[in-house]
């Protein structure tokens, strides 16, 4: 499936939306407007957008603690997202989930996750549903490099492989799990090598190249839909911000961060679009304006929304 000009512009706009949304969240975190923690996706926008553009609305994703980008790329409503982050009744989880648990099962977002690796077996389960109901859908399972060293990663990739589950495992390798560098957590340099031991294809891709990611996921997803089993895709990228709200970043140098900022996935894609004359300067300004407006609207909506009543405290522990 080739992307037309409008698709590409939409992807650019979505990447920018994630960036601006996260910048607003960063501001709210530092002001204490958001009272919990938050893990920002800035710098990694190409992965969520490239991957989610390669699937359909009815397909599923499982996400992570660093999940705002996945959520937006899956088509979430910014108002409900921002409301959830501010703990409001109008949020996706009615204020009961917060940043690490935003989910919208109806639109295929099976949820962010507070447990590193926690979503990986859940993605397998969605894969079972797809297979048993013959739905021809796929699941994109996002997780970080840290999750690759969780036991459940092994169990899940093996199960997905022996059962040919329609899951695309997408590792967002930003080279750190909190402070732990991949070079001290892995003996292998290329994490995609792990795929070989499960008998599935392993692919390494530039995680700042939205179109490359799109292409790899398209291919993996079509394999999955044809019942040919899962794929493990490792996207190398970098998180620009600290791990979460408080991070002195003693484990990396400013120089390293600066180097990666030069490879900004959004600037890079913008340049591509300008060079191709798909975008003009005026259009980029217009897009910037629209994106900012949508974020401002989300903020206004969230701030005007009520907090959940204490009456809801004990509601929904059990389903009827």
């Amino acid at each position: 499936m080739t992307l037309n000009k409008n698709d590409l512009i939409r992807m650019y706009k979505q990447m920018l939306t994630i960036r601006r949304f996260e910048e607003k969240v960063a501001e709210f975190l530092s002001q204490g407007t958001i009272h919990g923690t938050g893990h920002l996706y800035i710098g990694e926008e190409a992965i969520a957008v490239g991957a989610c553009r390669a699937i359909e609305n009815e397909d599923y994703i499982t996400s992570t603690h660093r999940g705002h980008g996945h959520c937006i790329a899956k088509g979430a409503d910014l108002n409900k997202m921002m409301s959830e982050l501010l703990g409001k009744e109008t949020g996706y989880c009615r204020g009961k989930g917060g940043s690490m648990h935003i989910a919208d099962v109806e639109t295929g977002n099976l949820g962010a996750n507070g447990v590193v690796g926690g979503g990986i077996p859940i993605a397998c389960g969605a894969g079972i549903t797809i297979k048993m109901k013959k739905l021809k859908r796929v699941v994109l399972c996002f997780f970080g490099d840290g999750a690759v060293n969780q036991g459940v990663f092994h169990e899940s990739l093996n199960l997905a492989s022996v059962w040919d589950l329609p899951v695309v495992f997408i590792c967002e390798n930003n080279f750190y799990a909190m402070s732990t560098a991949t070079k001290i957590a892995f003996k292998i340099k290329d994490l995609s090598l792990r795929a070989a031991s499960y008998g599935m294809p392993g692919v390494k891709v530039d995680g700042n190249d939205v179109l490359k990611i799109y292409e790899e996921v398209i291919e993996a997803a079509s394999r999955a839909r044809e019942d040919k089993g899962p794929t493990f895709i490792v996207c190398d990228s970098y998180r620009w911000k600290g791990h979460s709200r408080s991070d002195a970043e003693r484990y990396r140098t400013k120089k390293e961060v600066m180097e990666w900022k030069k490879r900004c996935p959004i600037e890079r894609f913008k340049k591509y679009l300008l060079d191709k004359r798909y975008l003009t300067r005026e259009m980029t300004e217009q897009i910037e304006w629209e994106v900012n407006l949508s974020i401002q609207e989300a903020v206004d909506f969230a701030q005007k929304s009520p907090f959940p009543s204490l009456k809801t405290l004990e509601q929904d522990v059990y389903a009827n």
């Binding site: 599923y60 499982t62 949020g91 996706y92 989880c93 009615r94 204020g95 009961k96 989930g97 648990h101 989910a103 919208d104 099962v105 109806e106 099976l110 949820g111 996750n113 507070g114 447990v115 926690g118 990986i120 077996p121 859940i122 993605a123 397998c124 389960g125 969605a126 894969g127 079972i128 549903t129 797809i130 048993m132 109901k133 036991g151 459940v152 169990e155 899940s156 093996n158 199960l159 022996v162 059962w163 509601q315 929904d316 522990v317 059990y318 389903a319 009827n320």
Partner: protein
């Protein structure tokens, strides 16, 4: 009403068969459940009947068994997962406690996880400390999980069917020593609702609340006590979460005495919960003597037969405890 004699094992199998026939979204997965029929033979023959799509042998991977059950439940299936021994739920505990139990609440009531985790607990098979635990207390502590513990074939059948139809994660705790126990059950389809206890024997002098295999031991003890002139009322809660406290309270108001018997370690066991709830209720005023608990010793289950028996309440222990309370 026509009846048929079934073992506990057969009763469970019938429940699985009926529910799978009724609803194509119901399927099973677990280790060695297909051709082998499960470590205790519960699913024997279901592979031939329903095929490998619905009777899935998994790799030896408890975390992904629980997690994949949850993921498929979240997306529209009704999985019945088997964990070969209750001890091994600890390996899938993240998926059970942090994920499955919390999703409905954490997602603001907008999604649910209709899954059943069947697992055999309990000692008495000489399998020692890592294959004999009664861990239901851990599970009852977790909001969002339901915990079911049938003590007889009739209940096993009816409760498993209700558990499969429930929209929450249900941990269904079977007992290894009960699998071969027999009983007449209706030929016709029936359900036993979750959250409803049953008076297994009526009596006037003492209320005895027993869980799982302890119901069987308590019933035997009650026969002997009757000969001594002690009339025991035995209540089987059948489901610990939700708990039918009402029935226990009503019984205590009648007998004025309460003994709680379970196999799990006494410390932090579910007996403490029942005791507290009764104390906090208006039944407290009716008590003639303090409530007593008879439960497993606070030790890992030992191997040697004498030690193993000594670790958990036996019929004689129940007799002794009951006499003391009434005497």
């Amino acid at each position: 009403m026509p009846t048929v004699e079934l073992t506990y094992r057969e009763a469970l199998r019938r429940a699985l068969r009926e529910e799978m026939a009724r609803d194509e979204n119901v399927y099973m997965m677990g280790e060695d459940i297909a051709i082998y029929g499960g470590a205790f033979g519960v699913s024997l023959g279901l592979l031939e009947e329903f095929g490998p799509e619905r009777i899935k042998d998994t790799p030896l991977s408890e975390s992904v068994i629980v997690g994949a059950a949850l993921g498929s439940a979240l997306t529209g299936m009704r999985p019945v997962a088997e964990i070969m021994f209750m001890d091994f739920i600890t390996i899938g505990m993240d998926q059970l406690i942090n994920q499955a139990a919390k999703i409905h609440y954490m997602y603001g009531g907008k999604a649910c996880v209709p899954m059943v985790l069947r697992t055999p607990g309990g000692s008495g098979t000489g399998a020692a400390a890592q294959h004999s635990q009664s861990l239901e207390g851990l599970l009852c502590h977790i909001p969002g999980l339901k915990v079911v513990m049938p003590s007889c074939p009739y209940d096993a059948l009816g409760l498993l069917k209700s558990s499969i139809r429930d929209n929450n994660p249900v941990v269904f705790v079977e007992h290894k020593l009960l699998y071969s126990g027999r009983e007449l059950v209706p030929e016709k389809e029936y359900l036993v609702p979750l959250g409803k206890s049953e008076v297994k024997r009526e009596g006037t002098d003492l209320t005895l609340v027993a869980l799982s295999v302890m119901v069987v031991r308590a019933l035997k003890a009650a026969d002997k006590l009757a000969q001594e002139g002690i009339s025991v009322e035995i209540i089987d809660p059948r489901t610990l979460v939700p708990l039918d406290l009402e029935a226990i309270i009503n019984s205590v108001k009648k007998t004025h005495r309460l003994l709680i018997v379970h196999e799990a370690c006494k410390r932090g066991g579910f007996g403490a919960e029942i005791l507290s709830q009764v104390e906090e209720s208006d039944a407290f005023d009716y008590l003639d003597v303090p409530i007593r608990r008879l439960a497993g010793s606070n030790i890992p289950i030992p191997y040697s037969p004498g030690l193993e028996k000594g670790a958990v309440p036996q019929e004689d222990d129940i007799l002794g405890a009951a006499r003391k309370l009434v005497g």
